[in-house]
């Protein structure tokens, strides 16, 4: 009898919890305001505990990464050495590329990134699970003027955009490495606008749409955001360097492999460009 009662009670509990979960899922999918505020309050409650624990356990995490990723670090070191040598040679060419980019942007009448209001944000959560490899959470939100779709950059260049409506003091950034991430780009020196998409974590970006076969592109060329009319991104944000040139099957377009200029691993601080192409005065 007691077992029967207990089983009945556990079924009721299960049904209640399942209905609660389903309700939360539905409300979240519909961006229900009160739920988002509750989420944010809970997030704020846990965050200080987490930050404190982070400070304590950071050395442990670093030591673990050092041990488990030793081979990776060695090959990364080697890559960096080669990259440094290449950059040395590239330095002289870069000044020329900068002049070309400046004149191109002048011609197009597009805004410079430097003129755009921006705000620095700290990355508060990155990759806590195994299914969130393409996003990070930052400590700036709607109260700071952050809006859905705004570009997020570091010194190296574009690293992503604000994903979804931000909370009051938090926002999620979809990283450029996300295979679903797309951004309009152009190769410095050419006029053709193409579409670049993420290739996965640690993988290069792919420019697979829009770059016609007769556009002159060379390995080592710089790729930047195109900033064409109504683009989510202002012109001239560095995306990366062309490392490989291929062609689609029908040889109508070129397919570029682009090594991203900004590192999206181990981000601490990022800059959100308060850029909204649809807003007046932006």
């Amino acid at each position: 009898m007691a077992t029967g009662t207990r089983t009945g009670r556990s079924r009721v509990t299960l049904i209640f919890l399942l209905l609660s979960s389903a309700t939360l899922l539905t409300l979240d999918a519909r961006d229900f305001g009160p739920l988002q505020r509750t989420e944010e309050t809970l997030f704020d409650l846990i965050s200080p505990l987490r930050s404190g624990a982070d400070r304590v356990f950071d050395p442990v995490g670093d030591a673990w990464t050092g041990v488990t990723g030793y081979d990776e670090l060695e090959s990364e070191n080697e890559e960096l050495r080669q990259e440094l040598q290449m950059l040395e040679g590239q330095r002289i060419l870069d000044s020329d590329a900068a002049i070309r980019l400046e004149s191109l942007l002048d011609e197009l009448g597009l805004p410079y990134v430097q003129d755009i209001p921006n705000i620095v944000a700290e990355v508060v959560t990155a990759n806590v699970g195994n299914f969130d490899r393409y996003s990070v959470q930052i400590n700036r939100g709607a109260e700071d003027g952050v809006r859905n779709g705004m570009p997020v950059v570091t010194r190296g260049g574009l690293i992503g955009r604000i994903d979804g409506d931000p909370g009051r003091r938090h926002a999620r950034v979809a990283l450029i490495t996300d295979p679903g991430f797309e951004v309009g780009v152009l190769v410095v020196g050419s006029d053709d606008v193409a579409l670049a998409s993420g290739g996965g974590r640690g993988e290069p970006l792919v420019v697979g749409k829009g770059l016609e076969i007769d556009t002159e592109v060379a390995v080592g060329d710089q790729v930047v955001t195109s900033g064409v009319d109504r683009s989510r991104y202002p012109a001239g944000i560095p995306i990366g360097t062309v490392t490989e040139i291929d062609y689609d099957e029908a040889r109508l377009f070129q397919i570029l492999t682009v090594n991203p200029s900004a590192n999206t691993d181990n981000l601490s601080f990022v800059t959100v460009l308060l850029y909204d192409p649809l807003a007046e005065g932006s």
Partner: protein, 168 residues
């Protein structure tokens, strides 16, 4: 009074594990895979406390981790609830088992839980869950939880000291 103390211990345990997962375990990656501690919490709660407690613990830790994930709020809670309940039910009706069977069940249930998470998430419109990498994630996370389940089983017994003699 005992029940209150049991609730307080459970809450303390869950918050501590959540914070530890966010600050420490999520960085301890092997082949890029982090241990699935929240899922292990739901599974081990089911193994120690039975279906009802497994479901409640799964729901609570699922909500906690959902705050920090980009997926829909409530997705982890939904899956961990079902998983905590199912494992508790199996344990009650079938296993009634030795410690090593519990540990094995935790590992297998981890792999199954991740598969369900990926499939259900994709069905609900989340991208990048069911990928080529999923099976490696399942294998490594299962191995991780094989090890982690032992201390977690012990900690649940500490949280619910009255359970073993009276409640069940």
């Amino acid at each position: 009074m005992n029940t209150l103390s049991s609730y307080a211990r459970s809450a303390l345990f869950l918050v501590t594990v959540l914070v530890l997962h966010l600050a420490l375990f999520s960085d301890l990656r092997v082949l890029g895979v982090a241990p699935e501690v929240p899922l292990a919490i739901a599974i081990t709660a089911g193994l120690v406390g039975g279906p009802e407690r497994g479901a409640v613990a799964g729901f609570a830790i699922g909500l906690g981790i959902d705050l920090f994930l980009p997926t829909l709020f409530g997705l982890s809670a939904l899956i961990y609830t079902v998983w905590g309940y199912a494992v508790g039910l199996l344990q009650e009706r079938i296993f009634r088992s030795a410690w090593w069977i519990n540990v094995l069940v935790a590992a297998v249930a981890t792999a199954g839980g991740l598969l369900v998470y990926a499939v259900l998430g994709e069905l609900l419109g989340e991208a990048n869950l069911y990928t080529d990498r999923l099976y490696m994630v399942m294998a490594v996370a299962a191995a991780y939880n094989l090890v982690l389940s032992l201390p977690l089983l012990g900690l649940w017994r500490w949280s619910w000291p009255r359970l073993l003699g009276e409640d069940r």
